[in-house]
């Protein structure tokens, strides 16, 4: 059953990866990142449950991952607001100053 959960986790991660790599909209890109972290949450919880359920380290790890997801969301939207205010940019392709 662990394998089934890991395959689900891989599916969620890769759907998110597609969005993170392919989307032009910054908000859609962040949705992709959220889906990727979602996959990681499923994998970490499945490892805890099927490998070492007696130790609570896995649960604490998932708690940290959920916090990371929250921080990513908050900082991501702050950056989006900053970019939009500075250069009316809501697409990743229009924020390419670092390339130059």
């Amino acid at each position: 059953m662990l394998q089934a959960f890991l395959v689900l986790s891989a599916a969620l991660f890769c759907v998110g990866l597609y969005g993170a790599l392919g989307q032009q909209s910054v908000v859609m890109l962040m949705m992709g990142l959220e889906l990727m972290i979602n996959g990681v949450i499923v994998a970490a919880t499945a490892f805890w449950y099927f490998c070492a359920p007696a130790a609570l380290d896995g649960q604490v790890l998932v708690l940290v991952i959920i916090t990371a997801m929250t921080v990513e969301m908050a900082m991501g939207f702050a950056v989006v607001i900053l970019l939009y205010r500075a250069s009316d940019a809501d697409m990743t392709d229009s924020v390419a100053e670092f390339k130059r």
Partner: protein
């Protein structure tokens, strides 16, 4: 019943995740992501993680509600009145994603994972609470500091009169 529940939730989570990048409306994409998160939260409940499952569902519903507001503020076509496609390098990202999925799924199936050792505590939520208020308190202290730093830095960046505001309509020093 357990396997059936897992399978249904897995299909819903993945299908809703795919729908995020397929539907023609930003608002629908947001709600599809919320459905995916709720299904994942239910999967966590199946894995005996009551607390983590419930906070995932509650937090993600709130987060998606906030995201829906951002969609309407920033994006064109929030209601899906016309087809939208905002992708670049679609073929390349699809190939990378499918390749990554094949590698991860093969690894998940072929790797000999260790056997289960021990069994969960009777009340996992209580045990987790005692753990983070006891031997794992350093983790909680770190998390709280990170969250506080996030609040301060996000507000600093997002405020319209902050030091990072470079808007032509409000140049540096204009509000001083």
């Amino acid at each position: 019943m357990y396997v059936f529940g897992f399978a249904v939730l897995a299909v819903v989570a993945t299908a809703a995740g795919v729908a995020v990048f397929v539907v023609d409306s930003m608002a629908r994409a947001t709600f599809a992501l919320a459905v995916s998160f709720v299904a994942v939260g239910a999967e966590l409940l199946l894995l005996g993680s009551g607390y983590l499952g419930v906070i995932t569902v509650l937090m993600m519903i709130m987060e998606m509600a906030i995201m829906a507001v951002f969609m309407i503020m920033f994006m064109m076509n929030p209601a899906g009145l016309m087809p939208m496609s905002m992708v670049h390098n679609k073929r390349g990202s699809l190939a990378i994603s499918l390749g990554a999925f094949a590698a991860l799924a093969l690894g998940a199936i072929l790797v000999p994972w260790p056997d289960r050792r021990g069994k969960p505590a009777g009340d996992v939520t209580r045990a987790l609470g005692e753990s983070i208020m006891g031997p794992k308190m350093l983790v909680m202290i770190g998390v709280s500091a990170v969250l506080f730093a996030t609040i301060v830095s996000a507000l600093t960046m997002a405020t319209s009169r902050g030091r990072y505001d470079r808007s032509p309509s409000a140049p540096m020093g204009a509000g001083d």
